[in-house]
Symmetry: C2
Subunit: 333 residues, 2 copies
Amino acid sequence: MKAYPSVKLRPHAKTHKCAMLARLQIQSGAVGLCCQKLTEAEALVQGGIQDVLLSNQVINKKKLLRLASLARSAHIAVCVDSERNIEDLSEAAKTLDVMLDIVIEVNVGGFRCGVEPGPDVARLAKKVMSLPNIRFKGLHCYNGRNQHIRSLADRQAAVNEVIEKTKLALSALKESEIECNYVTGGGTGTFHLEAASEVFTEVQPGSYVFMDVDYGLNLDGEEKFVSEFQQSLYILSTVQSVAENRAIVDVGLKAVSLDSGVPTVKNSGDQVYISGGDEHGVIVPPGDLKVGDQLWLIPGHCDPTVNMHEWIVGMRDGRVESIWPIGGKGPGI
Amino acid sequence: MKAYPSVKLRPHAKTHKCAMLARLQIQSGAVGLCCQKLTEAEALVQGGIQDVLLSNQVINKKKLLRLASLARSAHIAVCVDSERNIEDLSEAAKTLDVMLDIVIEVNVGGFRCGVEPGPDVARLAKKVMSLPNIRFKGLHCYNGRNQHIRSLADRQAAVNEVIEKTKLALSALKESEIECNYVTGGGTGTFHLEAASEVFTEVQPGSYVFMDVDYGLNLDGEEKFVSEFQQSLYILSTVQSVAENRAIVDVGLKAVSLDSGVPTVKNSGDQVYISGGDEHGVIVPPGDLKVGDQLWLIPGHCDPTVNMHEWIVGMRDGRVESIWPIGGKGPGI
């Protein structure tokens, strides 16, 4: 894969929510971490991460004081898309005498958060620049859905739309003579396309660190499965029941998220996992499985699966090397 | 609703995983609690519950010692469906010098765990009776899928199959001259049907304590929504972004399980929740919502939603009355 030395890597910690893993990412060259929830930002800063972008809105004055307090220990940036939120951020930062960097979230096609690319971007940037204890850092231009488009050509087409909308947002800033040297976005499925765009200065893939069944279905330019990242995340399940036509494992939807499809079984041959409800998975055919056997499951979707667990157990060559708390887990609401 | 005074209530704690709530259920007449995972049993016993049925298999000798240790503080029963597991349970109970009650799980149509109703039931009961520190308590005959069948007539037909299979299992025991005075099963959708069967001695509804969108769709004999239980569980979400055609709340699939459908919005009028991914929900139309407003969401499925949270905040008439830890939360694997 081509390198883009001027584009920075800021991995997204919504995937792992684990400061120990984040520190390894920093040691490997990342400039900082992204996260999606205040509780994740707290876990990262408490775990020694010095540069965190909360790529989402934080609402509610008590939460904003918690966010601002993190700026005493680390460089903190946060996304906004409303004037009210900008005012509240300035007030919280002023109360604690800290500086917060503000990133304007732009709707680049996800139709979730973010202002439309156009005059609203400049309006919010001016608002940021008019208030104390906050400063305008740049733009957040991310469309999560694009990450899971299978063919590379379709993914490129979708990212081209993101790039066009990002350019519109940058033009609006330029028209208002507002300098912008920071554009962040991209995920595991598209980050190399944003990196090649000459518009993005930073990419924020998260899932690459673990991978999952869903990302494993993305294709490269030759219609082969993208293979640049290996699967590293597994849920270790135990067979608890065996019948003639099925085996039952102790991992159901309270232990592996089914939102993007069921897990697959590592080295399974023809065995598949069928949902058995909240606490069970049904493995068919049972083959020669017996009660007590263990199966390694590859989650359908890594982020919400990790969110259900307390610990990441690091293994290499069959031995445990590390046990890391998933400090930022939880709903974060 | 007709009362069945000879049938005991053993609510299922897989719904709430909360000992404080379990104690209220005991105070209201429940004979004990069910749970589905060892970690849930531990939370219940540590929270003062004296009688717990773990309505699932526990595998792995270390876990069995943890289970057996609970029998020093409470009356513990556990489900089995294999001879190997019965041997391991006896060994663990003997090691800790405790007595464990053993309940044989029968496959009554769920095709998950459980032995077929027939000679295997008697074989396992004899196995239990042959080993020290464990004793045969009775049968577990539960089919989770039946709970969510919408029409009462269809639900009754499905439960009739459960009852027939349960009678087959009881006949197999009788043929082997094994006494059985305990049959447990039934959930929120069907418990009154099992209670009326004259076969079941105990029912184990769980969701009734909270309810959810899915259970709210079950119909009674007059094709009206069953109304015997009120919705008591909500996820309190905050509006974080508002655009022309949508509002965004801070509750996504890491805070509310989408496995049985999306949440609905309390007192919403025409507003609906659309999945916005891991950390967001999209509310359309936005109406007059503004950033900072709060919406009460009724989860699609209560059990896995509660599993994502740390605390239950008890409210009455707009005031907080209690804050209870969800002690048994987690994947429990």
